[in-house]
């Protein structure tokens, strides 16, 4: 592969214009993307835009990478590596596995980038590919993506509670990002998966149900239990800090 080179601003603009002409827009071709990993059509476009805002120069880099330009592919890697890696890390909770699967996701991107037609935001398409890589990995390992134990026999702490009146501390304003990240990492894998996909990544329950091959009700139930478990973890953390 050639040494990385910077894309010129002029070049970006020109290629962006070309891409706008060649890539189809979502409102005209919403159902014509058979080569994409899984369609994200069900997600409202506004939500996709909020979660995955366009990145300057991205269209140019996509067009050049589709033409086989290795340095443009590296530009795309640098644009998206943090988001893809963070997604893998949050889903897996393991640095080594997250790096391996980030690598696999980008290799898959390289193989499939010529099939990208712009039906959804590129980042939406890539992140969906990364989610599928993680899920495939977990299936190969024989790990259930939705734990039967978590589904059928929720522990007492995940079920409805009636004792919160004994403490008047509310979480609001008391948790920071690091604390929340740590608590998410402590969730059981099935809970963590649904929580990350829904609350962090913004997927809808019908999409998650499709990805995890479970019912929509199951996805909703797992999400609720995940939030309940997080509440307990975060309260314990807040209580510990208050006592210290």
């Amino acid at each position: 592969m050639k040494e990385p080179k910077k894309l010129s601003r002029k070049g970006e603009k020109n290629t962006d214009s070309r891409m706008k002409n060649t890539l189809r827009t979502s409102d005209t071709t919403a159902h014509t993307a058979p080569a994409q990993p899984l369609s994200a059509e069900a997600r409202p476009m506004q939500q996709q835009q909020r979660r995955n805002p366009p990145i300057a120069g991205e269209l140019a880099a996509i067009a050049q990478a589709q033409g086989g330009d290795g340095s443009a592919f590296e530009v795309l890697y640098n644009m998206h590596k943090r988001r893809v890696y963070s997604l893998c890390l949050r889903m897996l909770g393991n640095v080594a596995e997250a790096e391996d699967l980030t690598q696999e996701a980008f290799l898959q991107l390289h193989r499939k980038i010529s099939t990208f037609r712009g039906d959804s935001a590129f980042s939406t398409w890539l992140h969906r590919m990364a989610v599928n890589v993680v899920l495939m990995h977990l299936r190969k390992k024989g790990l259930p993506l939705v734990s039967l134990e978590e589904t059928l026999e929720p522990s007492q702490e995940d079920g409805p509670r009636k004792d919160f009146g004994t403490r008047d501390l509310t979480l609001s304003g008391s948790i920071d990002r690091v604390t929340l990240e740590r608590a998410v990492k402590e969730l059981p894998p099935g809970y963590r998966m649904v929580f990350v996909l829904h609350d962090v990544e913004g997927y809808e329950h019908n999409e998650i149900a499709g990805m995890l091959r479970c019912s929509i009700g199951n996805s909703k139930s797992q999400l609720h239990k995940a939030r309940m478990r997080l509440r307990n973890l975060l309260r314990e953390d807040a209580d510990g800090r208050a006592e210290a």
Binding site: Y77, T102, R161, K162, I175, R177, L230
Partner: protein, 93 residues
């Protein structure tokens, strides 16, 4: 378990909390739900769960993969491209 500052019965709280996943999913405005008018426990629960969901949306991707990840990708792509190059015997005039 105690249920202080609360005129609601545990059974009512259980029934309300069992419906919470559906309430959250439909985006129902829970502020006006009759159960929350005088149940501090469930009000606190709803506030906390909404707060957690809101905070999760703000979690930004902050972790970078090590430089080795790109090196591995680059090596794999280079190997693939070498594997696809035709040998001399494959050349056509």
């Amino acid at each position: 378990m105690t249920n202080t500052n609360n005129s609601r019965t545990p059974k009512e709280c259980t029934e309300f909390q069992e419906q919470l996943p559906e309430f959250f999913d439909t985006g129902a405005d829970l502020l006006d739900h009759p159960h929350l008018k005088d149940c501090e426990n469930c009000s606190a629960l709803v506030r906390d769960l909404e707060y957690i969901a809101a905070q999760a949306k703000l979690l930004l991707p902050i972790h970078d993969p090590s430089p080795q990840v790109w090196k591995n990708i680059n090596n794999a792509l280079n190997q693939n491209s070498r594997g696809r190059q035709p040998s001399n015997g494959d050349k056509t005039s």
